[in-house]
Amino acid sequence: MRILTWGLIISLLISVLYVTWFSDDLQQGIQDADLKKEKPVILQNPELFDFKHNRLTMQVKAKTARVYESRSLTLLTTIDGNVYSEDAAEKPTQIFAESGRIKGQVKLLTVWGNVRVLFSDGQQLFTEKLNLDQNKKMLYNRVAVRVVSDKELITAAHMQYNLKTGILTLSGPKAVIESGF
């Protein structure tokens, strides 16, 4: 009986961990169910801008945007976004994805489906899901990534990129680098 109780507790803990840590998609499903109650404002080919201290920090183009005002949530399709550096001379980091959402209150952009990031140095990152924390100026995820440039290919379990410092941290990385580099 005790074993059964402990077994139940452990499996419950694992489920909670999975939901909170690994699976954003499940949360998203719950949210989507809630969102059906609210009628969104639908925008075609919108262009969204984010400013900080009168400086443009982010620009997102999409095919469609469904805006849920009460929840400060925007769902996007076919995303083409630019995240601008504090250094005006630096090229923006571009983000492309099939779908995405913006949580306005926490300034969190999440994109998914054939996500591609084009860094200012020409290096590209491919993944299936990516978060952009606009407050922390941080790109991160917990799914596999592939970083590609002319002379190297890096695969990793997940990543974190600080847009302010330009530091990319890859976990469990494997790089294939053309030597003579």
Binding site: F119, S120, D121, Q123, D150, K151, I154, A156, T165, G166, I167, L168, T169, L170, S171, G172, P173, K174, A175, V176, I177, E178, S179, G180, F181
Partner: protein, 364 residues
């Protein structure tokens, strides 16, 4: 009976002493008995120290193979700073060069590249560094490896140390902290190897109070009487020196500070404070200059002098300043300058023109 000592000016003294052992040049089956025959082996050993220092750089750069790749993996993270062009790989880092299979293992690998050209400008491996270096297979070896695909390739060199750095800017390659270089025919233990590949000069040093240790092996002389399947035992030479200096443009290697070398095949012992080795264009040793309390103990002969100059093409050594030679416990020769053959069993000793030689001969 002891013969009273005589001061004799022989001009050119010739003294032939017959030994029981066969002449080395007559195709004898014996291995060379005197260690100095093996000093040329220092050539390959000393110049390969250079290769050891460059291994980290060599592993990451392959100028000869444009399509070659290096694969780097780590258990923890790779932190890439795009603005500075640096990358730091942490925890069980393994870098493998595809063309040769040469491998670098370490706890932390840091590299810096030029942002514009992506060219490697600096690399550092820190913590439990191990480099297993394979050479590119020659065509004949490739064919052999295809035939015997089960054979494990033997690494050319294995290097372990605490820290290895390579800098293109300063043209420096360094191995630091309990450096151990193990190659097919030589071994080296030191605290630090530093080599500037731009000026092609290097230095091998030991910890304070310790000495650089080196071991190298003479090739086994084929024994015609033994069947070829019997494995030949390689002859070991071990040595100590406070430091070793390498100067490739001058084709010079200097062993300095209590230089002591033993040929284990006959227990010949060589001592000097400093030994300079000069190499020819083929990197074969031409001359060696041993100075400061030089002594050479060979089976059947003991020599001492302030300075000794070995000329390998002539197979001669000139002892200069307080020169002393004692052969077979019977013949003692002293002079300001003595010229003799390096090979003991050639048995020729002579004075140098116009310099008196004092000789004592013990008569039974």
């Amino acid at each position: 009976m002891h013969c009273p000592s005589q001061d004799v000016n022989y001009g050119k003294v010739k003294m032939i002493i017959n030994y029981l052992s066969e002449d080395l040049n007559s195709g004898s089956n014996q291995y060379p008995r005197h260690f100095l025959k093996t000093v040329p082996r220092l050539r390959s050993a000393c110049f390969r120290f250079v290769c050891a220092g460059l291994l980290v750089g060599q592993l990451l750069i392959s100028p000869s193979l444009a399509k070659d790749t290096v694969t780097i993996t780590s258990k923890k993270t790779a932190v890439i700073d795009k603005t500075r062009g640096t990358a730091v790989w942490l925890d069980d880092v393994v870098a493998v060069r595809k063309s040769t299979g040469s491998t670098l293992m370490t706890e932390k690998l840091s590299i810096q590249r030029d942002i514009a050209s992506s060219r490697l400008i600096w690399a550092e491996a820190a913590g439990n560094v191990k480099v297993v270096y394979y050479r590119i297979l020659a065509d004949n070896d490739k064919e052999l490896s295809e035939i015997n695909s089960n054979l494990q390739p033997v690494p050319h060199t294995v290097v372990t140390c605490d820290l290895a750095t390579f800098s293109r800017k300063t043209a420096l390659a360094e191995l630091v902290g309990t450096v151990h270089v193990l190659s097919k025919d030589f071994e080296l233990q030191a605290e630090k190897i530093r080599y500037n590949y731009h000026v092609e000069r290097g230095k091998v040093t030991a910890k304070v109070g310790e000495q650089v240790r080196f071991v190298f092996y003479k090739k086994a002389v084929p024994d015609k009487q033994r069947p070829s399947i019997v494995k030949q035992v390689r002859q070991k030479i071990t040595g100590l020196a406070d430091e070793i200096l390498l100067n490739r443009p001058s084709r010079k290697v200097i062993l300095q500070g209590k230089v002591f070398i033993i040929d284990h095949s006959d227990q010949s012992q060589f001592r000097a404070e400093r030994t300079e080795l000069f190499f020819d264009e083929k990197e074969e040793i031409e001359t060696a200059k041993a100075s400061g309390n030089f002594s050479l103990n060979q089976p059947g002969r003991v020599s001492r002098s302030d300075l000794a100059i070995f000329e390998y093409d002539k197979e001669e050594v000139t002892l200069i300043g307080n020169a002393y030679v004692k052969e077979e416990q019977k013949v003692e020769v002293t002079s300001a300058r003595i010229k003799m053959y390096i090979k003991v069993n050639k048995g020729v000793i002579r004075g140098v023109d116009d310099i008196p030689v004092k000789m004592e001969i013990e008569i039974d």
